[in-house]
Symmetry: C2
Subunit: 419 residues, 2 copies
């Protein structure tokens, strides 16, 4: 029913070939997939002038904000970075074919759980041309066909990059339909992709809040999405003060616009009088603004008040909410109330307190004595990442090659019947 | 937004306590969860008369079919089976807390991927009281709170069983809200559960096709569902004929109504003239009916014709579709066209053909020289199962305790910053 809808909308012209290409990819050798990536990287370099010319068209036609146009704009360094990205993915270990578990049943059946590709992935993103190249690389390597639906403002750039990816696939003897772009100028294809049950196996949205919310609201196909990253750093009574200052400064201010940036500081009442003024001073010196609860205001003169709405806000900016808490239980209660189950950190020298904290959140990533900004595929050692997942199923946290696979059970017998 | 909707509908009265109970369960000891299961089993035995009396009310009020009323009906043996089921779950290994992977980064961060509960599970099922008891047991053991929404015809029975589960939870010092029933008489709670994003983490439907289709259509919460099991057994040219006869008879006829039952026989043209008549004779003797393609009809006189619709039909009955194919590639093409990505088997003595087949399907379970009816949690060694999943993400195939968990990353440092 939904597959029929997909066919009618025009997306079916892409999903059929994508499924066939996915089958070819699933049984291809590691070398062949790597060859495609290396050849696509070479094509990106060889066709740099074409890509930049196409991008000039897109940028000239764009009426969007300066920040948006900056993300849309390519230059020789950004094209080179895309090519290097594909080469790095080629250098990563193959996530396919691994025997994840193996056991034998009393009746002699040999059971194996084996890593396999997911199938056909739909990638929906905004007008950042490099996202398409990265996604194509990660999907090829992990054996998945991908349909790329980038912002329509980047269509000329996307087509020029797509030509290079197709060059790479052809050079390696893989179907060009392993990577396709959904080329419509309006958003009809997005809706068709979101409802293409059976034709698309997984949707990955990447972009602003309104895009992700639309995808989560409308999708009938499973989604791996990044919703919100309202991360907390909790400075426990037994924290090393110097470490707390170093870790918080990085967690809040290294980059304020990423999902792993700390948005709220929780600090124990026992240590707050001596340490909180220093933390505020450190961050102020780096340009951070603050809001705090009444207990924090009593310690830091002039601290603006924090509302409950503030504690529920992902600032993505040089701003920090501060609450003074009594103990680990109170910190956990605050995180349970306001958190987004993304990444939380505790700073403490007390192993028991750390264990209680690590076990007590509902978050994908919990850190002890480290900056929340380590929530990143590269920092986890995954190599490249296609995004960060905030759901609880299949993949949580950074989504790298391994998270773009699923598994099948292979059962080997010698004529066993259940009887 | 959806959480607010859940609160307004009345489901919020259950999801809030469920979330709190889930937190208590997530940090509870194995012994405590097992104690709850053992005490609940004892309560089921102690309260057998109450349960049967409640069940008599339900059965007396039911106007449904005889088969439906049979599934609804409890007797002493069925109550005892529920109690034994809970004891068996208590005896299974704890799926929580396992370190699934562990590695150290060059900067000294120790990374761990640890098995944790999913959180709050919504179980939507039809009027089989034992499904509620099994689901409660599996969720308690795996550290998940569960909201049970059984068919309204079984409400008295469900309440009597619920009393026993609560007895068990209380005896072990766990919150009774670990297991709750959604007690409305109409289906409003079902819709509220399906859209309770953030309040319910996973929906598991268990029942007939229309129930599962409604859940898949309406759910905004992730779903682990069993859609269809259109399983194939492929008898390859190099099959041992005796093994093929034994395996097919079991795969088709052991139980015809289960999802792992074979619905279509694919047989190589090279072996069909000698073997197909014997296979048909074996199954005929056990009461099976047939439809076949033209090539099968040419070998088996009187075989009724199979339409393309027949090949797309999950019979769940003593009926088999038959197609003669040229080779492994043709068998795989047939499965790609008609299959439901559930379970497929090949019978062959040729290891290369088997490998091509195992790698060439898109199915959750692939078997070599074994009956498709082995697709079952117990047969996989998982102990009890809450169902079988036909999606491709998170869990595929039998869903046991391990599949009712997710993971978190625990990162241990000594003050690392990303810098």
């Amino acid at each position: 029913m939904d597959t029929v809808a997909a066919e009618k909308s025009g997306i079916g012209a892409l999903t059929g070939p994508a499924r066939q290409a996915a089958r070819a990819l699933a049984t291809s050798t590691t070398a062949r997939r790597n060859d495609a990536l290396m050849a696509a990287a070479a094509a990106l370099r060889a066709r740099q002038a074409e890509i930049l010319a196409a991008n000039v068209q897109d940028v000239a036609a764009s009426t969007a904000s300066a920040a948006f146009r900056d993300r849309l704009t390519l230059n020789p360094a950004r094209v080179e970075a895309m090519a290097k990205g594909l080469e790095e993915i080629a250098g990563l270990p193959d996530p396919l074919g691994h025997v994840l578990a193996e056991w034998t049943r009393p009746n002699g059946l040999l059971m194996r759980r084996v890593a396999v590709p997911i199938g056909v992935i739909g990638m929906i993103y905004e007008s950042r041309p490099n996202v398409g190249a990265d996604a194509a690389g990660l999907c090829i390597k992990s054996g998945n066909a991908v349909i790329l639906r980038g912002g329509s403002e980047s269509l000329h750039s996307a087509r020029a990059i797509q030509t290079c990816i197709e060059d790479g696939l052809r050079a390696a003897g893989l179907p060009v339909a392993c990577v396709q772009i959904a080329p419509d100028a309006d958003r009809a294809h997005v809706g068709a992709m979101l409802t293409a049950v059976g034709a698309i196996d997984l949707i990955i949205p990447r972009g602003g809040k309104s895009l992700v919310e639309r995808v989560l609201r409308e999708a009938r196909v499973p989604v791996l999405a990044h919703a919100e990253g309202l991360c907390h750093t909790y400075v426990h009574a037994a924290a090393d003060p110097d470490m707390a200052r170093r870790v918080l400064a990085d967690a809040k201010m290294r980059r304020t616009g990423i999902c792993g940036a700390t948005e709220t500081l929780l600090i124990d009442a026992a240590i707050a009088p001596s340490l909180l003024p220093l933390l505020v001073e450190d961050l102020s010196a780096r340009g951070c603004a603050f809001v705090g609860d009444a207990r924090a205001q009593a310690i830091v003169p002039g601290l603006p008040p924090a509302t409950t709405q503030d504690f529920a806000t992902e600032w993505l900016d040089a701003k920090l909410s501060i609450a003074v808490v009594d103990d680990v239980a109170a910190a956990l209660a605050h995180i349970a109330r306001y958190g987004s189950q993304h990444t939380e950190a505790i700073v403490t020298e007390d192993a028991a307190a750390a264990a209680t904290f690590l076990n007590g959140t509902d978050s994908a990533v919990v850190m002890w004595n480290a900056s929340t900004q380590f929530c990143d595929g590269g920092e986890f050692g995954f190599g490249a990442e296609i995004g960060i997942a905030t759901g609880k199923l299949h993949a949580r946290g950074p989504v790298g090659l391994q998270q773009l696979t699923t598994f099948r059970y292979e059962v080997r017998g010698n004529g066993q019947v259940r009887g």
